[in-house]
């Protein structure tokens, strides 16, 4: 069945045919990218603008968001970051690097048993505050930590 779906995806040229496939039950909605990419948030040049455009404005500081990252990153091109929210009812989480040319790194929405935990590797142009914001119970929360970068990750 999966094989068939893959073959179908290869042959399906347009968004229209994919939408039709969902309607006719050929494709599971789970396999389709429903949300539109948040261009406004990802292209924002300042952290405040990025956070606000991503829907995390007015977040209150909360140390129940635990951010694991190195104090000093030798290579800014690859900085491991792990974030966990211990705030009950956390439904989404976003990561920002305040001094990056594009501060917004990523946004994650959790459902169906996914824990409010993300581990990834990010780029850092220079020493900066790494900020994690979450949504929980209709409110926004945030925590941050500084990562010192000795070699920037955005070339030059």
């Amino acid at each position: 069945m999966n094989q068939l779906r893959r073959a179908f995806l290869k042959s399906a040229g347009t968004v229209g045919t994919v939408a039709m496939a969902i309607a006719t039950g050929l494709l599971k909605p789970g396999a389709v990218f429903a949300a539109t990419w948040n261009n406004l948030a990802f292209t924002a040049k300042t952290p405040a603008e990025a956070i606000s455009n991503a829907g995390y404005g007015g977040a209150t500081e909360n140390s129940d968001i635990v951010i694991k990252a190195p104090d000093i990153a030798e290579n800014g091109a690859v900085v491991p970051v792990t974030a966990t929210s211990n705030i009950p009812g956390t439904t989404s989480m976003a990561i920002f690097v305040e001094k990056n040319p594009a501060p917004m790194i990523a946004d994650f929405v959790f459902s169906g048993g996914a824990e409010p935990y993300i581990s990834t590797r990010i780029k850092m142009a220079k020493t900066s505050i790494v900020r994690v914001t979450v949504k929980a119970g209709g409110k926004n929360y945030t925590n941050s930590r500084e990562v010192k970068v000795t070699i920037g990750g955005c070339g030059g």
Binding site: G30, A31, F33, F42, T82, A106, G112, I118, S119
Partner: protein, 104 residues
């Protein structure tokens, strides 16, 4: 392009720990080609969806700040050994990447 994605899922108590590695340059669009001095156009994975037995558990939007050859780790409570975890990703040029792993 299944070969571009590597996945592993192991149980830790009642939580499945999933690790995903995708081969992708994640070009920011801000860097110049050292030889030609021309800007390398932005080329990056911008959406990722993970499923447990076909049901969505994680929807991600990524920007250019995710490092080259992206790594993603997430955890699913209530998953069990034998469950299927799928990951679908797409980049800004519309190329799709997918992977599937059975929880060990």
């Amino acid at each position: 392009m299944a070969e571009a994605m590597k996945m592993r899922a192991t149980m830790e108590g009642d939580v499945a720990d999933v690790k995903v590695l995708i081969k992708h340059p994640m070009d920011t669009g801000l860097m110049k080609d050292k030889k030609t001095e021309k800007l390398i156009p932005a080329f990056f994975i911008n959406q990722v969806v993970a499923t447990l037995n076909g049901k969505t558990v994680l929807e991600a939007q990524w920007g250019v700040g995710i490092a080259e050859n992206p790594f993603l780790g997430f955890r699913i409570k209530g998953a069990k050994s034998g469950d299927k975890i799928g990951v679908n990703a797409v980049d800004n040029l519309g190329t799709k990447y997918d992977g599937e792993v059975v929880v060990a």
